[in-house]
């Protein structure tokens, strides 16, 4: 009951925050739909498909990762998390409600963008729709979880968006969403291990085994980091 309550509250607050809506919904949708449509008309279908699938990484890094990190850091610094902890909610319910809400919104956005690109520019949907669904759901959950864990590295709420920017950029580069960027092979190999890359790989290839292992490892990393370092209150000066 309480988990459902925190889920509902998190979702309700998300849709009320106009600044965050612009940053984590309007802008990403504009990019995730606009760029593939543009590529389809300027370059061709194959490039549009690559960019469209790469945009999943962008949506995961902004709508899931950044959104959770900014929301939780703000609530931590404004002592809202502390007040929630004074209620009858457990720590797990507070965090899981937020993570589940954000993951749901991310899944909806990714599916909506894929459909929009299909309808607007005739860019085909992923060939293996089951792999697409599983990878997007798992990726949304893992990136939301990692966003919650990442708040420990963010010193103050006003720095939250800036601190998540490198994650966003690296995610885009690693999946080719910004076009072909020549990278040293060792760096490309390292970037292939990112959870966003795992999701895009699963969508492109239809193979779920290696991406699932990758995401499971990242999920474990996120859980351990939350357990060890998550802060419910700002640091005492």
């Amino acid at each position: 009951m309480s988990l459902a309550a925190t889920y509902r509250l998190g979702t309700r607050l998300f849709w009320r925050d106009r600044a965050m809506l612009f940053a984590s919904v309007i802008t990403p949708i504009g990019l995730a739909v606009g760029l593939p449509v543009l590529m389809r008309h300027v370059v061709g279908t194959a490039t549009a498909v690559t960019v469209s699938q790469g945009m999943i990484a962008m949506l995961l890094s902004i709508t899931a990762f950044m959104n959770v990190a900014v929301a939780l850091t703000n609530r931590r610094d404004q002592l809202v998390l502390k007040r929630l902890r004074a209620s009858r909610l457990t720590d797990g319910q507070i965090l899981l409600g937020q993570i589940a809400g954000t993951a749901t919104q991310t899944v909806i956005l990714i599916v909506a963008c894929a459909l929009a690109v299909r309808l607007l520019a005739d860019v085909p949907l992923p060939a293996n729709l089951l792999a697409f669904a599983v990878a997007v759901i798992a990726g949304s959950v893992v990136l939301s979880l990692l966003g919650a864990a990442y708040t420990a590295a963010i010193p103050r709420a006003e720095l939250a968006a800036a601190y998540t920017m490198p994650v966003f950029l690296v995610s885009l580069v690693s999946t080719g969403a910004m076009g072909p960027i020549p990278l040293p092979s060792w760096l490309q190999s390292a970037l292939d291990l990112l959870p966003t890359t795992a999701v895009v790989t699963a969508v492109r290839t239809g193979d779920l085994v290696l991406p699932a292992v990758d995401l499971a490892v990242w999920a474990a990393v996120g859980l351990v980091a939350i357990r060890l370092w998550f802060r419910w209150e700002p640091r005492r000066s």
């Binding site: 925190t6 009320r16 007040r83 004074a86 209620s87 009858r88």
Partner: protein, 295 residues
């Protein structure tokens, strides 16, 4: 029956020892005031008892449970009004209460909680538009939603106007009458004196005075104050007084008897003692005496 038990509690932050081995107990249905200056360790003590911090040493029990290890069980029976905590600014008062009702098993009806906290005219107001005192009242509404057996109130009336403060006092008294155990910290000594049956005064992390409120104050006697009549030598008075300008103060174990003595003495000489005021010791007197003796 003891509801809150603190035994040898110690708590440090980054090398600073905020609480230095304090002990006290609060009985079921008692209102207990924890007093002291800023930085005395009151809020740290409250936060350990509420399960937000883990004690470095010593033990604390609330309803017989460890507030950290048994947090989920303790929370089911405890209401907490924090000194500092935020709200969701874009939710209204009613929406905030509704959200917290969702977190609470068998909560009070929304309107009852809002009315109890004195916010009956503000359910549709966004939290960001509330005054500081109104936010404290909303905080109280949330703390009372689950009809708690134990209530932690950290500076509950800070920022409230006098009427709201007195309404809050009435709520606290009513809850105590119904058997709720209440631990209160406050800067307002009158508030502590009005509400609490027992108290402890903290200074620099230690308890420097503790006991039943009435007994502690009665033991400190009282005072008779008046303006000195013109040309009267204070040494001629039948009781010793301290003089500050034209004001004289006689400290006495029984201030009523001291007043009788002074008035009889004045009447025999055809004198008046203007502005005469008789009162027993207040918590403020005790507090100031303790500060004076600590210097």
């Amino acid at each position: 029956m003891t509801t809150i038990q603190v035994n040898g509690l110690r708590k440090s932050y980054q090398g600073f020892e905020a609480v230095k081995g304090i002990s006290f107990e609060v009985s079921e249905g008692e209102v207990f005031a924890l007093l002291g200056r800023n930085g005395a360790g009151k809020t740290t003590t409250m936060e350990v008892l509420a399960g937000f911090q883990r004690a470095d040493a010593g033990s604390v029990r609330v309803l017989g449970l460890d507030p950290v290890a048994d947090r989920a069980a303790v929370r089911q029976r405890v209401g907490i009004m924090l000194q500092e905590a935020g709200f969701f600014p874009d939710l209204t008062v009613a929406q905030t209460v509704d959200a917290w009702r969702d977190f609470t098993a068998a909560p009070r009806p929304r309107d009852e909680a809002i009315e109890l906290a004195g916010l009956a005219g503000r359910p549709g107001t966004k939290v960001r538009q509330l005054s500081g005192g109104e936010k404290r009242r909303l905080d109280l509404a949330l703390a009372l939603l689950g009809r708690p057996d134990v209530l932690f109130l950290d500076e509950p009336t800070t920022g409230m106007d006098p009427e709201a403060r007195r309404n809050t006092w009435a709520v606290v008294r009513d809850l105590a009458r119904q058997g709720t155990t209440i631990l209160l910290t406050t800067h307002y000594l009158e508030e502590a004196q009005q509400l609490a049956g027992a108290m402890a005064i903290m200074d620099q992390g230690e308890i420097v005075a503790a006991g039943g409120m009435a007994e502690t104050l009665a033991a400190r006697g009282g005072r008779v104050a008046f303006r000195l009549p013109p040309r009267l030598d204070p040494g001629d008075l039948p009781l010793p007084v301290t003089v500050d300008g034209e004001h004289a103060v006689c400290h006495a174990e029984h201030p009523d008897l001291a007043a009788q003595t002074l008035l009889s003495w004045a009447a025999e000489r055809g004198l008046r003692l203007p502005g005469l005021e008789v009162r027993t010791a207040t918590l403020e007197d005790l507090f100031l005496d303790l500060r004076e003796s600590a210097r």
